[in-house]
């Protein structure tokens, strides 16, 4: 039984990837997440300049629905400062995807150009953050913009480009199509859902940025649906990576069956101890594969479409 997973030309030791923005701001937390047993890690989304992000509160839990809301809003050190962290990751042989963002095509290009010489696994292009005023998910809702950005970035590098989509659209397949036409190497879905929590005692939105994005268990049925719909359209034409609400081995299998080639895990891995969580998840997947006579991860992908 093998856990190796192929995402296009990339091979990783198992299909579990750390989602962007969770444990992703420092090389040491990324290294730690990889050492804990993941197949690869994705950095926090990195932009052209250092940003403080949005005021706190910027992350808190909604326990009753086993979820988080956040408005961290792309707080990041900027690519120039973050090069040092990436270099550490490369040195320690941590398979690293760098998530990048920008407010427009020029900014995306600047970040990619500034990091593409590093020995990383590839880039994830974040077209989907709901927590900024400019850029972010605005960009990810327009097929033409998506096509142009992907095409431009693709012309600049041979490294794999993954495109991360927002669920806050009428038709995710249309956006994915634009990205595929632009030449991307994988589709990643979903980012957080537009959300808000108001405190009724003080009568104000709790997040410092007021608006935020919902992640965690609450969005799993939504993520599964999107992966299923994407797989219906693309089958094995392009790898699809599932994200959203994974906290158990069963959730990983559900995403694979829906059509995911690999998965990303965010909220659940940050809460408490990555080491334990990843061990539990891996054990459960192994057990499932044994019970259902699977010898490789790839065989599970798309199983719910038969």
């Amino acid at each position: 039984m093998s856990f190796e997973t192929f995402i296009g030309s990339i091979e990783i030791r198992n299909p579990l990837i750390l989602a962007s923005g969770v444990l992703g701001t420092t090389y040491s937390t990324l290294q730690r997440a990889y050492t804990a047993g993941l197949g690869a890690v994705i950095t926090k989304s990195i932009g052209p300049r250092s940003r403080s992000g949005n005021p706190n509160p910027s992350v808190f839990a909604l326990q009753d629905i086993r979820s988080l809301i956040n408005s961290v809003g792309l707080a990041n050190p900027g690519y120039q400062s973050f090069r040092h962290d990436i270099e550490q990751l490369v040195k320690s042989e941590t398979p690293t995807i760098v998530s990048i963002f920008g407010e427009n095509q020029t900014e995306f290009s600047e970040v990619l150009d500034g990091l593409k010489d590093l020995n990383i696994l590839g880039f994830e292009v974040n077209l989907s953050c709901p927590n900024t005023d400019k850029g972010g998910s605005q960009i990810g809702t327009d097929p033409d913009t998506v096509f142009n950005i992907v095409k431009t970035l693709k012309s600049k590098t041979d490294l794999p480009l993954w495109i991360k989509l927002t669920p806050n659209v009428s038709d995710i397949v249309e956006i994915a199509n634009a990205a595929v036409k632009g030449g991307c190497d994988a589709i990643v879905a979903i980012n957080t859902l537009k959300a808000m929590v108001i405190d009724i005692q003080t009568k104000q939105p709790i997040l410092g940025f007021k608006r935020g994005g919902l992640s965690g268990s609450a969005i799993k049925p939504i993520g599964i649906r999107y992966i299923y719909d994407l797989y219906e359209s693309f089958k094995d034409k392009i790898p699809i990576i599932g994200v959203g609400g994974i906290s158990k081995g069963e959730d990983v299998v559900e995403y694979l069956l829906a059509g995911a080639t690999a998965v990303e895990i965010g909220s659940a891995i940050g809460i408490a101890y990555p080491e334990n969580m990843i061990r539990f998840i891996t054990m459960k997947i192994k057990k499932y594969m044994q019970e259902h006579n699977y010898s490789s991860i790839g065989e599970i992908t798309g199983g719910a479409h038969k």
């Binding site: 444990l23 420092t26 937390t29 706190n56 992350v59 326990q63 940050g270 809460i271 408490a272 539990f280």
Partner: protein, 285 residues
Amino acid sequence: MTRQTLPNTKPIMCKIIKKEEECEDTFTFLLEIPVKVQGAKPGQFIMLWVPGVDEFPIGIAGFENNVLEIGIAKMGKGTEALLKKEVGDYLGIRGFYGKQFQVPREGEVNHLLIGGGFGMTPLKMLTTTLIKQEDKQEIHVFEGARTKSRLMYLEWFQNLHDAGKLVFHACTDDGSYGYKGYPTVDLEKFLQEARGSSIFYVAGPERMMKVIFDIGKKYDTVIDMQMSLADRYMRCGFGVCSYCAVDPTGWRICVDGPIFNTKQLEQITDFGVYKRLETGEKERI
């Protein structure tokens, strides 16, 4: 089962039921928690939301009957707004987060609590716990400040000292209370004379803690040093965002700390040297 329960909730709104000036620019607040919560442990902290202003980590100075005691020192915009809050106002809390001070269950040992500034808040709670313990172990509290008016919990510690519950070593930069100088002076004196082993519990500015750490390492009798790293920017408080993490271990202050022991501190090369800003950039402390 791999099922994991979120350890926390959205901010729980708590009414301020008491506010008292503690020392210069520093106030004690008592907050009434409207829901039943599990007991807080010395060394743990909360994320405190000043509605409409900011949210930041604050140590726990006491917890009894669902009432939380915190001590706030004026720093910048957020703490200033907080200090303007009055009895009857509401603050949001999330928590309790982080690891506690590890007090050995048995064996004779000197408990040395060393700190300054708002670092005294977890040490106050630790003191409360220690003096409840039956066994007759020595408790020494070393507190330093610029001047008398900035010694936190001065009266509280002095009273315990007078009652023979602990030995209070106060010092000030200007000699306005206690001896003139740093807490390290009395600390070293104590270590040179003391019998038996000692444990450090330290909370204060990180550079001061580094100095104390280096002192402690010189003495075989110091069997552990536990220090509260509270000089790191925090967003989530429960391990998700990584802004509070230290290199090269990838430990998150909020979950894997804020209390670290000697063995851990030796591995944290950032300790006393670097911290991350709210952008994730690294900066010299």
